[in-house]
Subunit: 186 residues, 2 copies
């Protein structure tokens, strides 16, 4: 028999994806060690052993989630280049409404709330994710756009406002606003 790797070693890097999956479906605020450990196939004892503290675990987890988000953006950075700003907005909103994105959006608002309360790690993760989005948006701007940098910031503000209004059930309000602002193809 070959060397049978009975137990793959348990490290932070092997735990973080499992923890991420758990918080994506169960939320970040109410996350406690025992359910997290169960989702990762360990015990709370081991989570503290590897991360030292629950707070450190959350910080590490947020950093990892930010990286996952950046990778997802890279993957979504398809070659399709929109012709107008309105097309860019429409394309992004269509992606954001996808059911696969909803667990992530729900998590996102918890991160925003944590950042607004200055919880450790939240600001950093949120800023990193928004920075990624901004860079990606700049690359998505139409070819002949007169002000890609400013335009990307403009679109990001509008898109995030739409996302928030959608989260609280005012998505139609945002849609009408985008139309009135000329930011959606009529």
């Amino acid at each position: 028999m070959a060397d049978a790797p009975k137990k793959p070693p348990m490290t932070k890097d092997s735990l973080l994806p499992l923890l991420t999956a758990h918080v994506l479906s169960h939320g970040l605020g109410g996350a406690s060690l025992r359910p997290l450990a169960k989702a990762a196939g360990t015990s709370d004892r081991m989570l503290i052993y590897h991360f030292g503290t629950k707070e450190a675990l959350i910080v590490d987890l947020l950093g990892y989630i930010a990286k996952v988000y950046a990778a997802a953006l890279d993957a979504a950075m398809g070659s399709e280049r929109a012709a107008t700003r309105a097309d860019v907005v429409a394309s992004i909103l269509a992606h954001g409404d996808a059911p696969a994105m909803q667990p992530f959006m729900r998590l996102w608002w918890e991160i925003v709330a944590g950042a607004a309360r200055d919880l450790p790690g939240y600001q950093l993760a949120a800023q990193a994710m928004m920075g990624e989005l901004l860079g990606w948006l700049e690359g998505q701007m139409p070819a002949g756009d007169p002000d890609p940098q400013g335009g990307a910031r403009y679109l990001m503000t509008v898109i995030e406002g739409t996302a928030m209004l959608t989260a609280v059930g005012h998505g139609d309000t945002a849609q009408q606003g985008l139309l009135a602002g000329g930011l959606l193809p009529s």
Copy 2:
């Protein structure tokens, strides 16, 4: 001696303002009965007695907070009418940045996160508050605006996007975006 009202009766209506003050400074997610009761000068026993359940308490509290928010908007609905959409945005952002508003903004993001997770009462409160803001915004639109309804929805989307980016430390990004979009006086 006149009839001395030794103990003012404790009702929901007398408790809600005290509870609101507590969640404004301590947050809504981690609120537990005993600290809430202490802030209101009672015991957890009485909170359950009056509200029946912690969940019902939170629902009632969110409804009350929405009313307080509406009243605050009414009070802020000064007679000053801005001349341009950019002036409207600038005036509102100036109000939102005021230190007195920060506890409320922090609470707001918790409400958004709760609404995104379909916690009972959160969606309703958030929708009510956004509805109030929208109505107020329509009344704030410049006199000769070509499309006050659509314009108010447009500005609300932009303003909420700016608020979110500000909460996560990307306020400057939003400012630059508003400038590029012609939504801030240069």
